[in-house]
């Protein structure tokens, strides 16, 4: 009985560590994606291009964000 409980606890520890570490790495990556996206948007606004072009630039930033998040 004791052995079964110890094995179950060890299994839980192992499982939670596997679950935890990928999530932390994913969190960092997603933060980086959003940081790059914010930089992209600000640059789009700073370019002082006409509105249609700015819309396209902002859309490109959004597509880049989606791709970045999906890649991780």
């Amino acid at each position: 009985m004791k052995r079964a409980v110890a094995l179950a606890l060890a299994g839980l520890c192992l499982l939670s560590s596997f679950l935890f570490f990928p999530q932390a790495a994913q969190g960092r990556a997603a933060d980086e994606c959003y940081s790059n996206w914010n930089r992209c948007r600000v640059n789009a606004f700073n370019m002082d291009v006409s509105w249609y072009r700015m819309t396209l630039a902002l859309t490109v930033c959004d597509v880049g964000l989606g791709k970045c998040v999906l890649d991780f």
Binding site: R39, V42, N46, D48, T55
Partner: protein
């Protein structure tokens, strides 16, 4: 926060209704003033063109231009002489990562250091005096008396509405937040809706001008209380455009490209139609009185992207990224 935004909307709405009721029923004469180029040669030792000029401001003697790409503040005399430049890319004191705006108070220059997410306080020669971090990407800055530092930022629009105007003390303590952003979940459209210009008024207050879809100019005093909004009269027309947002066309009403405030007048840089049925920066600056009426229109000889009014002079960045000075009445 909810109560605050509801009360803000109520006060703003009431003010707009009052202004609309009495303001625009009759038209007042609007005077046009051509402005001439003083043809000053604003060049540094080796360059007359900026890479990405994002802000112009002046104080009693000098003009400051921020070049976001060069991470530099360039200082010129009002006669066009280059005085100095300070700043470079980095994270240390006196270094910037895409500076966005500055304001001068006494002998101190306050700069929004955008991607370092901080405010830097410098002396007039660019020497580092201090600063503080902020939890967002700061954009425009106005420093009011008593060391009230008012900041705006472009909301991310990821998790709903968020305040766009924040007040800090000199020590970097948050004092108040206002002006909740518009949120529809469409990040491109919301970016247009939330793109604002913040200018300092003449009563220790700030004015928030939306670049699209909003004719009302909102006012906050230094305690964060919303006051009477200006409803800009219809002589200053919206420019409508269909933008390809989320694959389909969506109507956006363009309002202005930039704004400035001087001696009781709000100056709005009009948008202009381009040859490709697009909207670009214009060559007219409309001067709006506190009651919302347009009283003067300044005709510029060239389209410009940034303006800063100083009496009869208008400092501006043209579409080729050159700093120019236009004078009202000069031909």
């Amino acid at each position: 926060m909810m109560k605050k935004s509801i009360s803000l909307m109520a006060v703003g709405g009431l003010a707009l209704a009052l202004m609309a009721g009495r303001g625009t029923s009759g038209r007042r004469p609007v005077h046009r003033h051509p402005a001439g180029d003083l043809k000053l040669d604003f060049r540094t030792d080796d360059d007359a063109v900026f890479s990405r000029p994002v802000s112009i401001s002046h104080d009693r003697d000098v003009i400051y231009v921020i070049d976001a790409e060069e991470n530099e503040v360039r200082v010129f005399s009002k006669a066009g002489t280059f005085i100095r430049a300070f700043g470079r890319k980095g994270q240390g004191p006196g270094e910037f990562d895409s500076p966005a705006d500055l304001d001068v108070s006494g002998d101190r220059i306050y700069v929004t250091d955008r991607f370092n997410k901080r405010i830097q306080v410098l002396d007039r020669k660019g020497g580092y005096l201090g600063g503080f971090k902020v939890p967002f990407t700061p954009d425009q800055i106005c420093v009011l008396s008593g060391g009230r530092i008012i900041l705006s930022h472009l909301p991310l629009g990821i998790e709903g509405r968020e305040p766009m105007v924040h007040a800090f003390s000199e020590m970097g303590n948050l004092l108040w937040e206002q002006a909740n952003s518009y949120y529809s979940g469409d990040r491109v459209y919301d970016a247009f809706r939330n793109f604002v210009v913040m200018v300092k008024g003449d009563r220790e207050d700030i004015l928030i001008v939306h670049k699209s879809d909003e004719r009302g100019v909102f006012r906050f005093d230094k305690e964060g209380k919303s006051g009477v909004a200006i409803r800009v009269a219809d002589e200053f027309e919206f420019k409508r455009i269909s933008l390809p947002i989320k694959g389909s066309k969506r109507q956006v009403s363009g309002f202005c490209w930039d704004a400035t405030f001087d001696k009781g007048s709000l100056g709005l840089l009009a948008l202009d139609d381009t040859e490709e049925n697009d909207l670009g920066p214009g060559r007219e600056v409309f001067l709006v009185a506190p009651d919302g009426f347009v009283k003067d229109i300044i005709d510029l000889p060239a389209a410009v992207t940034r303006i800063d009014m100083d009496g009869d002079d208008l400092y501006a960045v043209d579409t080729e990224n050159r700093l120019r000075v236009f004078r009202r009445g000069q031909r």
